[in-house]
Symmetry: C2
Subunit: 628 residues, 2 copies
């Protein structure tokens, strides 16, 4: 669905895209064109918990390789043909490396990456492919200047030949600083040749796993646009991950796409549905790491006032950026004295940590972990309540005070580059929805734990929040984005928070005739009144998260689509089918399709958050039909 | 002498260059401007032989750090001023790293580079310096997104403060492939913090060594242009070096500037005068490495004929490129079936290896090494002779056959990007001069060894070569660049080869009234007839190595200047003073001065060979006067 036509450069005549058939899934990507078939087999499989998995399971799950296959059908031709597969140097550090021997032939760069094959091949290097392929004497394929490395593949006349490739990556030294960690796979692979040998030896099994990945992220009820977006999103998530090891302990990192911040907590929350499905232990790992190293205790204040009130435990925005962990208790992102982008997200990340914690416990069944964290949950709860209002009787369930860490600024939400409608944290109905979700799940936890006092208090906060939100439903049928502060924007993410209780075992709280029915009904009214042309729909039918911003984020659209369809009962035919066509078109616009999956789309044009991991909110769509 | 005026960018007002005083040497580089003094102290000291030096000597010589000092005089100001020193990320791998504690404050990137100070400083990171310096709140200096890292230095009102910095580099993992080697300094430094601690602890000593380096590459008889060029050349050489260790053994590598080929043999020959002066063991190391891994035995053929004759032992062009050693017996550069650039240099490198071997023995006094290599020297000699003519009686001392490795092509010389006048190897008078030098030194060696037969044979070849060259002196007083092949170009490097016997203990061979007096006199005639406007001088007075090419190489100019003045007795006032003004102007042309020292200059414009190590031929100038 992507790509631009390439023109002949005088040496190569590219096959026109119209003659290329592409079959694209979350695991496989197959290109067929005339005599050629090229297949890529990527890894998107559950990662076993290093605390419990055995060595062979881990080695297999973590092998840093993508597989490829090239078939050349020369049966209609009476001459030998020369196929090639290779790459240019990705960095200046090393010249092209030729590998030969021990059943492996390969080209690569230093110890960092290599393309191996176990088939018959020659290796070549040179300035550009045309130089290499134009060599009169094969000996000159070993010329080692220039940035291009190729595997050269001779196809005899009248034969069809297939080559298997392992595209391998390796970094053996310290991979991150601040916390000095290595890649976990270094426990099992000592050098890139070992990666190549393993991948080629296990080629068939790994290929089948990639095919299984295609099926795992496909369902009959998905439209072709949904399939495409989910597959891209799953790939983009995996591209951003690292499993590290420091002092024998695993650290799961999801980098924030092009921004490269590490385990950004507001992304972790959105990715929790995916991780909860694939490998819940990674959520636990992230939560523990935040608790131990990236939590802090603040105070809070009312806007415009100097007086500080007790705040409480909360969490940083991220753990670092671009392989550099930040100092304890501080993110790479948050700055003081701001009211917009780069301000603190103390309330947002507190709610996110709680949502992830309950989702983890539900998806893993690890109730013990939750109980071990009882003191933390109590502290988080206290911190939540303190951000509402210092006086019990004046609490309305919605965040009313900002963190002292802002030093007089205002907290923001994950929607940092939108306008205030979604960007401001205080009195924001998007964030209030997440706080409600946290209170609902806290209530259930305390109740099951037998802590009646805390349960009752959490329930009171949940009701206050729900009542506050429902009571702000306007006569026109919407809840303004920011309560009581004169911001009249209309935002789709008012409904976003419902996903957490729904997924974390509190579905009854999301029922329109249940305990919070009035709130749920108000959200339904809100949703149906804002998802309309001229309000929260772009001209192309795509969703506009805020009526006052052209910046719309696909990950959040996917999540809200799920909430609207699955939880609130809106039908996809009316509300999302046409929209998803537009959303897929945003990603596949030729000049924007290079970055795999992107999140921030301004009026249909990819603006930022390229290579982003967050689109895996779309895996919630897998739950929307009846399994066969 | 370099640099362009920078304009204000709205935040910074650069100090006009006219107000900056720069004092530049091979070791130190000091900038004074108003209240500011910034000094850089680089390392250009002899490297001790790892086989014999003790640990502390090696640690000290190899510490991968450059020192800097910043003095801010705030005595005339009643307010605190904020100075800064830092850098942008050099690669994308890691975000800015902040170092603090153990007496060191620093910013850097991963474990690869860091700027440390032992003075009072804050660390800061951000998108650009203006963002960091404009922060209202110092806490925001820890914002960790963006590529810029700074050390921030507060200068109290009325004080003068000085900070000392260690600019450190570190690579702990495998640095090269093909031969897997690490940096030798990893034996003494386990991480970059240790480099910083050592450098700051030994700051004063290292600073004094840099000042000593200034003196080591300065002499009263040098013009200011010569001083400048030599200092740049020494720096550019050191920038290209690596001392590696593989399986406990040291490997000395000089990378070929921007081309990055490793220990390119034809550069090694030119750099041998420098290495012989600084640390002769590196020459031995290079020679042994070539012998063991990058030598080969070929056959030879006459141009246009298929019949192969015995060739012999010779050496590759290089050992690899950009940290990738090539397979045994093959360079990264040489290709078959060519007659120009990228063809084989079998004769050139054979002569170079021999020249380096004799120079090493002379400068080190390591006669034993030479005797241990007796069989190699005999084989090299045989190989030299075989390239002259297969029949003894038809030999003229000049290369007449090309290597079978060219597969029907023609060998070239180091001057690969010039025209045939210097580029073709066969019958080339530049290369013949080097072959003569090799025969002269072989003769002396065999004679001293007591091998009268070989000595006589070598002497015969030396005389044949000298006679052939002298006999080709034309009526106009020059020897054509290529003998008997219709190439009538006039080249300065006809005289180049004299440097080797002169430096390797065979000065008498270079005397105009000596054994080869006719040859020497012919060269004098040649030189004085070609170094003239319209022949081998550019309009600006700079030297044009070949009358038929605008591509002139500074390293070779420096070498030939030495030969002309010191050996042939031409006076510098007439022949080189004006030329050197032009040569320095080539390097300091603002748009070309960025690359430290460059070799290939086309009609005064730097064309290639940037950051090149070869300019250290200029250290021969240090011998041209009488030491005080």
């Amino acid at each position: 669905m992507d790509g631009q036509e390439k023109e002949s450069n005088g040496f190569f005549d590219p096959i026109p895209l119209s003659r290329v058939k592409r079959t694209f899934g979350a695991g496989t990507d197959v290109f067929e064109a005339g005599d050629l078939t090229f297949s890529l087999y990527s890894r998107a499989i559950p990662v076993p918990d290093p605390e419990t998995a055995d060595e062979e399971q881990l080695r297999h799950a973590l092998v840093p390789a993508v597989l490829a296959e090239l078939a050349v059908d020369n049966r209609g031709c009476g001459e030998q043909r020369l196929a090639f597969f290779g790459a240019d140097q990705t960095e200046n550090n090393c010249a092209v490396r030729h590998f030969a021997g021990e059943g492996l032939t390969g080209i690569g760069q230093g110890g960092k990456w290599a393309f191996f094959t176990d088939g018959e091949a020659d290796t070549a290097s040179g300035f550009v492919p045309a130089c290499i392929l134009g060599e009169e004497d094969e000996e000159n394929w070993k010329f080692n200047n220039g940035k291009t490395g190729l595997l050269l593949l001779k196809v005899p006349p009248g034969e069809r030949k297939t080559w298997r490739f392992a595209i391998c990556f390796y970094r053996g030294d310290t991979a991150t600083y601040g916390v000095e960690a290595k890649y976990f796979y270094t426990e099992y692979f000592g050098r890139i040749e070992e990666v190549g040998a393993y991948a080629l030896k296990n080629f068939q099994r790994m290929k089948e796993e990639s095919q299984e990945t295609d099926r795992a992220f496909d369902r009959p009820w998905l439209t072709k646009e949904q399939r495409f977006m989910m597959a891209q999103a799953v790939r983009s998530y995996y591209n951003s991950t690292q499993l590290l090891v420091a002092e024998g302990k695993p650290i799961w990192i999801v980098n924030e796409g092009e921004f490269r911040m590490m385990n950004t907590m507001d992304l972790t929350a959105d990715q929790s549905f995916f991780e909860g499905r694939m490998n819940p232990w990674t959520l636990k790992n992230e939560l523990e790491f935040y608790l131990e190293r990236y939590s802090y205790t603040d105070q809070v204040f009312f806007p415009g006032e100097d007086r500080l009130y007790p705040g409480g435990l909360t969490f940083c925005h991220d753990c670092g950026v671009a392989n550099q962990f930040t100092r304890r208790g501080h993110s790479s992102y948050e700055k003081t004295k701001l009211t917009g982008c780069f301000s603190y997200m103390s309330q947002e990340q507190l709610a996110n940590w709680l949502c992830c914690a309950f989702l983890y416990a539900e998806k893993s069944g690890d109730r013990k972990w939750l109980e071990d964290k009882n003191d933390v949950l109590l502290a988080c709860f206290e911190s939540m309540v303190n951000r509402d209002h210092p006086q019990e009787e004046k609490r309305n369930g919605v965040m009313g005070l900002d963190s002292s860490r802002t030093k007089g600024g205002s907290e923001i939400t994950t929607y940092d580059s939108l306008d205030a409608s979604l960007g401001q944290a205080r009195n924001n109905i998007y964030l209030a929805g997440k706080c409600w979700a946290a209170y609902v799940m806290l209530e259930r936890y305390f109740r099951e734990k037998g802590n009646g006092v805390a349960a009752a208090r959490a329930k009171r906060q949940a009701h206050r929040c729900a009542d506050t939100l429902a009571s702000h439903l306007s006569e026109e049928g919407y809840i303004p984005a920011i309560l009581d502060e004169g911001c009249d924007s209309r935002i789709i993410p008012a409904i976003e928070g419902l996903a957490f209780p729904y997924e974390a075992g509190c579905r009854e709280a999301t029922e329109e005739n249940g305990e919070y029915g009035a709130y749920i009904r108000a959200l339904k009214t809100h949703f149906s009144s804002v998802v309309k042309p001229g309000i929260c729909l772009f001209a192309d039918g795509g969703w506009k998260l805020s009526s006052t911003s052209d910046n719309s984020w696909l990950s959040k659209i996917y999540l809200c689509e799920f909430v609207a369809r699955r939880i609130l009962g809106f039908d996809g035919e009316t509300y999302t089918r046409e929209a998803d066509r537009a959303h897929a078109a945003w990603l596949t616009r030729p000049e924007c399709s290079y970055w795999c999956w992107s999140d921030q789309i301004v009026a249909g044009i990819v603006m930022a958050s390229k290579y982003y991991p967050r689109g895996v909110t779309s895996v919630l769509w897998l739950e929307e039909g009846v399994e066969e």
